[in-house]
C-alpha cells in the first residue's frame, strides 16, 4: 500500500474508476435478474458479477492487490475454512440415515 502523497494522488483516479465500474456492475446485476433466467443460470450470473465487484472492493479499496505476505497468509487460511464452512453442510443432504426406503 502506498503512503507517498504523489502515489496516493494516482490511486485516487483508480478509486473513481472502480466506483464507476461498481455502479455499472450493479445495474448489470439488476438487469440480468430481470431476464428471468433458469435458477442455476441466474445464480451463476449473479455470483460471477458479485465476485467481480467484491474483487474490485478488496483489491483496490482495501489495497489487497498490494499487501504484505502476513495478510495474504491469514486470508488464504480463512478462504480454506470458508470453503469448508460453505460446502461441508451440504453433505448432510447425502445422509440417508433414518429415511424410509
Amino acid at each position: 500500500m502506498h503512503s507517498d502523497p504523489a502515489e496516493i494522488k494516482k490511486s485516487v483516479r483508480s478509486y473513481i474508476t472502480v466506483f464507476v465500474m461498481l455502479m455499472v456492475f450493479t445495474v448489470l446485476t439488476v438487469t440480468a435478474a430481470s431476464f428471468h433466467f433458469a435458477v442455476p443460470m441466474a445464480i451463476t450470473v449473479a455470483l460471477i458479477i458479485a465476485v467481480m465487484k467484491g474483487s474490485m472492493v478488496a483489491g483496490v479499496f482495501m489495497h489487497l492487490s498490494n499487501e504484505k505476505k502476513a495478510i495474504y497468509g491469514a486470508l488464504l487460511l480463512t478462504l480454506a475454512f470458508f470453503i469448508v464452512l460453505l460446502f461441508v453442510p451440504l453433505f448432510t443432504m447425502m445422509d440417508h440415515i433414518g429415511v424410509a426406503k
Binding site: 503512503s3 502523497p5 496516493i8 494522488k9 490511486s11 485516487v12 478509486y15 473513481i16 472502480v18 466506483f19 461498481l22 455502479m23 450493479t26 446485476t29 439488476v30 435478474a33 435458477v39 441466474a42 445464480i43 449473479a46 455470483l47 458479477i49 458479485a50 465487484k53 467484491g54 472492493v57 478488496a58 479499496f61 482495501m62 504484505k68 505476505k69 502476513a70 495478510i71 491469514a74 486470508l75 487460511l77 480463512t78 475454512f81 470458508f82 464452512l85 460453505l86 460446502f87 453442510p89 451440504l90 448432510t92 443432504m93
Partner: protein, 194 residues
C-alpha cells in the same frame, strides 16, 4: 507504558499492530457471515420451493448504490489524510457517516413495511434468514457509525498529537467499512434477486 508498533511496522510481519489486528478480525467476520451464507444454502436447497419477489428490488438497489458510494467516500477520507488535507478528510468521513445513516433509514422503512404485513422472521424460512442476515449486517453498519462518530468527535484530537497513528485508525476503520460493503454486495443478489 508505550505500546510498540502502533505506527511503525513490526519487523517480522511488516505491518503495524492495528493493521494486522483488523485483518484478523475481518477473517473472523468472514467465518461469521460464512456460517450464515452456509445456512442460507442449506435452507434453500432443502426447501420444496423458494419465494421470489418478496423484497423491493428498487430499495435494495438504492441501498447498494448508497453503500458503494460510502465505500468511496471512506477511501477518499483516508487518501485526503495521507495528502494532509484535513478539511477534505472531515468532509469525506462525514459523508460516509451520513450515507451509512441513509442506508439504515431505508432499511427501517423496508423492515416496517414487512412487519406491518405480518412478514416478520416468524412468517417463513425466507424471512427468518432475511432478517437474520440483514439484521446482523445492519448491526455492523451501526458499529461502523459509532467508530466514525468517535473519529469525527473526540478521537479527532489524535491527529494533532500523532498524525500517523490517526491515519492508521482511519485506515483500519476503512478496511472494516469496505468489508461491510463487500458483505452487502453478496447479500443483495442472494436475497433480493435470486
Amino acid at each position: 507504558m508505550n505500546i510498540p508498533y502502533t505506527v511503525e511496522a513490526r519487523p517480522d510481519t511488516g505491518l503495524h499492530n492495528g493493521k494486522l489486528g483488523i485483518w484478523l478480525f475481518l477473517a473472523s467476520e468472514v467465518m461469521l457471515f460464512g456460517a450464515l451464507f452456509s445456512s442460507y444454502i442449506l435452507l434453500r436447497v432443502g426447501a420444496p420451493e423458494w419465494p421470489h419477489g418478496e423484497l423491493s428490488v428498487p430499495l435494495g438497489t438504492i441501498n447498494t448504490i448508497i453503500l458503494i458510494s460510502s465505500s468511496v467516500t471512506m477511501v477518499m477520507a483516508w487518501a485526503s489524510l495521507k495528502m494532509n488535507d484535513w478539511g477534505k478528510h472531515r468532509l469525506y468521513l462525514l459523508g460516509t457517516f451520513v450515507l451509512a445513516g441513509i442506508f439504515l433509514v431505508n432499511k427501517y422503512f423496508e423492515y416496517s413495511e414487512h412487519l406491518h404485513k405480518g412478514e416478520g422472521p416468524w412468517h417463513s424460512t425466507f424471512f427468518a434468514i432475511y432478517f437474520t442476515m440483514t439484521g446482523l449486517h445492519g448491526l455492523h453498519i451501526v458499529g461502523g457509525m459509532i467508530v466514525m462518530a468517535y473519529l469525527l468527535g473526540p478521537g479527532a484530537k489524535l491527529w494533532k498529537k500523532n498524525p500517523d497513528q490517526f491515519a492508521n485508525r482511519i485506515e483500519a476503520t476503512g478496511l472494516y467499512w469496505h468489508f461491510v460493503d463487500l458483505v452487502w454486495i453478496f447479500l443483495f443478489p442472494v436475497l433480493y434477486l435470486l
